[in-house]
Symmetry: C2
Subunit: 372 residues, 2 copies
C-alpha cells in the first residue's frame, strides 16, 4: 500500500486496511462481506466480471499472469489472499515479493497438482487412496501394474485444473485405462484406486499468523456428478473419529505453514476402525462445505479467513445450531420465489448474472437447535 | 430502472434488482450487505462519504433536497429505502412518483416531528408520556400549566432533528422551562412529563408489502447520555407484557401502512400492571437495538427490511441464541486489538474513517445458548 509496507510483516492489519483478493466469484464475495464486517476494505483482482465486484470497494480486471497489472494491484492493497487454488504460482510468488500473500504460495504449489498433493499428505503419514502419477504414456505401464494389484476399479484424474468433478474419468478395468488417459487429453494424471467409502466429510481448519489452530465441526457431505450438493452438521461421527479428522487437518495446515482457512476433504471408510479416514483432497481456501458456518456459527469461515490473513487472533469456531446446507446449482435458483417464501430457510444468492448447468448460484441453510 | 417500472408495483423484485438507499452510514452498509446476501445490488445516495460506499455497487453524492440529482438516482434503482428518518419528506415524495419508496413518505412525516408522532400514537389508543407541543413562546403558557398539573420534572425536546439525546433539555421545575426553550433555540418543541420507568425495551417489527407482520424478541436497552449502549435479549418480560409490546408495535406499523422494519421504543413502568408500557418514540428504519439479530437470529433485521422493501415474503424472526449487544462509541473502537482477541465476541466495525466522541463506530454481540 505504502512504501513502509513490509512484506510478511506480522503486525495485525488495522481496520480500514485493504484486503486484496484474487478471484471475483461467490467465495470472494463472501470474503469481501466478512472483511467489511471487521471494518476492512477489499479490492478484487479477477480475469472477468464476478459477483464479488458488486460489493468490493475496488477492482482490477486482468489476466492472472499479467505481472505488471498485478504490481498495480499490489500497490493498492495491504495483504493478498485468494478464493481459488488455480492462481498461477508465479503470480502468487510475484505478489509475495511486494505484499504479504496468505496463504503463502507453497499451499498453491501443493494443491495445484494432485500428484504433489497426495505425496505431500502421504509423506505426513496421513492415509490417502492408493495412487500412481502418470505423466506420459510410458508411465501407463506402471499404472497398469498398480491397478492390477488393487484388484478393483479406479478413477483417473487430471493432475491439474480439475474441480467440481471436471477432469475425471472412471476406469472400471485395466483395459479402460489407456482410453481414459487419451480421453483426458494425455495430460499428467493421477490414477487413484476407487475407495469404497461410507460417506465423505470435510474439516475446515483455520490457522492464524501466530500458528494458532481452530477447526469447525466436520460436516457430512453429499456430492452428485462431482458437485457438492449438501453438507450436514453434525456428521454423526464418534468423538474419536472427529478428533482424528481434526488432527489430520491440523497436521496438514502446520506442514504447509498455512495461514487462513484450509478445506480438507476426507472419506470415512466403514468397518475399518483402525484407520477409518482417508484424505481425498485439500483446498487452500474457504470451502463450499463450510458455508453453513455463516448461519450456524458466531464467527463464520469467511471471517476467520480474513482474521487469519489480516494477522488477527482467530475467532470462535463454535457452532450454536445444527445445520443442513444445500447448494443451488444451475437453474435451482430460478425458483427464487419459492425459496424466498420458505421463512425458515437462510437463503444466499450469489448474484451471478446467468444460470448455467452445474454453476453454483447460491445455497440454502436450515438451522435446528443444537443436538450434540 | 427502465420505462416499464411501475411505481408501487406489488411484484417481488427479482435478484439482480437494485436497492436504492438514502444515507451512507452503518445502517446503510448493513442493508447493502443483507441485500447482497439475497443477490440484490445496491446504490447509495448520500450527502457525504460514509462506510456504506465501501460495499455498495454504486453511489451518488448530493444534497437530499436536490431533486434533479435524486431523479438521476431514481433512474438507476428499482426501489428506494432509507437508513435515517430525517430524509426530507419532499425528497421521498418526489422519488415516490418515480419508483416505489418503502417505507412510504407517511412514516417519515410522522416520525420527523415528535408532536405529530406522539399524537399519531396516542390517537391509536396507545399510551405515550403526557406531552404538550410548544411551537412558540405564547404556547409556553399552556406548557407551564401542564407541567404544574404533572407535579414533577419534564424533558423538553426539539420536535425535529433530534437523535442520540441531542436536542433535549431537562426541565426540573416549571421555573426552568422558559430558559430550556431558549436554550434549544426557541424552535418547535415537545414538553414531556419525565417518566419514572423501570427500564426501556424496543420492538423491531417488520411488515411485508402484503401486510404480513413479524416481530423480533424485544431487547432490554440501556442508554447513557442519550445514546444506546447495550441491548439484551431476552429482556425478562412476562409473556403478557411481551405480547402487549408486540401488539403495540404491530398496530403502529399497520396504521402507518408501513413496509420494512420499524423500531418502536417503549418504557416499562414498574408496578403498573394494568398499563405497563408507554411508547417513547418510533424509528422508521432498521434500529440499533436490533443489531443483535445479525448474530442471534437466522434472518436479521437488515435482511427482513430488504425482503419487505423488495416485496418478498418475510423471513423468520426466530432467535436461536440469547444475546447481549454493546455499542462501540467514539474511541471504544480504538481498542480493536483487544476486541479482536476476544474469540467469543461477534465484532462488527463499521469502517468509519474517524472516531469522534459519541459516534457509533461498531458493536459487539455475545451469544449464549437460548434460555427461554
Amino acid at each position: 500500500m505504502t512504501d513502509s509496507t513490509v512484506p510478511n510483516a506480522a503486525a495485525p492489519l488495522a481496520p480500514h486496511s485493504i484486503i486484496g483478493i484474487l478471484g471475483g466469484g461467490q467465495l470472494a464475495k463472501m470474503l469481501v462481506q466478512a472483511a467489511a464486517d471487521l471494518g476492512f476494505r477489499s479490492a478484487i483482482y479477477s480475469d472477468d466480471w464476478g459477483p464479488a465486484l458488486d460489493v468490493a470497494g475496488s477492482h482490477l480486471i486482468g489476466p492472472y499472469d499479467n505481472l505488471g497489472r498485478l504490481d498495480e494491484f499490489a500497490r493498492g492493497v495491504d495483504v493478498v489472499t485468494y478464493e481459488f487454488e488455480n492462481v498461477p504460482v508465479i503470480a502468487a510468488e510475484h505478489l509475495a515479493r511486494r505484499v504479504p500473500v496468505r496463504p503463502g504460495p507453497m499451499a498453491l504449489r501443493v494443491a495445484q497438482d494432485r500428484a504433489v498433493e497426495k505425496s505431500f499428505i502421504a509423506d505426513l503419514g496421513i492415509p490417502v487412496a492408493p495412487f500412481v502419477a502418470i505423466t506420459n504414456t510410458v508411465e501407463l505401464a506402471t499404472a497398469f501394474q498398480a491397478m492390477k494389484a488393487w484388484q478393483g476399479p479406479a478413477i483417473l484424474k487430471t493432475a491439474q485444473l480439475g474441480y467440481d468433478g471436471k477432469g475425471q474419468a472412471g476406469v472400471a478395468t485395466v483395459g479402460d485405462l489407456a482410453a481414459a488417459f487419451a480421453e483426458l487429453g494425455s495430460v499428467p494424471c493421477v490414477l487413484e484406486r476407487r475407495i469404497d467409502f461410507a460417506f465423505e466429510i470435510s474439516v475446515l481448519v483455520v490457522r492464524g499468523l501466530d500458528g494458532s489452530l481452530a477447526c469447525y465441526d466436520a460436516p457430512r457431505n453429499t456430492h452428485d456428478g462431482g458437485i457438492l450438493r449438501r453438507s450436514v452438521v453434525p456428521a454423526g461421527l464418534s468423538e474419536a473419529i472427529e478428533a482424528q479428522a481434526r488432527d489430520i487437518a491440523c497436521r496438514i495446515a502446520v506442514a504447509l505453514d498455512y495461514v487462513g482457512v484450509l478445506g480438507v476433504e476426507m472419506f470415512c471408510i466403514a468397518g475399518d476402525a483402525a484407520s477409518p479416514l482417508l484424505v481425498n483432497e485439500i483446498a487452500p481456501r474457504v470451502h463450499n462445505s463450510g458455508h453453513w458456518t455463516m448461519d450456524a456459527c458466531a464467527i463464520c469461515q469467511f471471517q476467520n479467513h480474513i482474521r487469519a490473513v489480516a494477522g488477527w487472533p482467530l475467532g470462535s469456531t463454535q457452532r450454536h445450531s445444527d445445520a443442513e446446507m444445500r447448494n443451488l446449482i444451475g437453474h435451482d435458483a430460478d425458483d427464487w420465489r419459492a425459496l424466498a417464501a420458505d421463512a425458515d430457510a437462510c437463503l444466499h444468492l450469489y448474484g451471478k448474472r446467468e444460470a448455467r448447468s452445474g454453476r453454483k448460484m447460491g445455497h440454502v441453510t436450515r438451522l435446528t437447535p443444537r443436538s450434540s
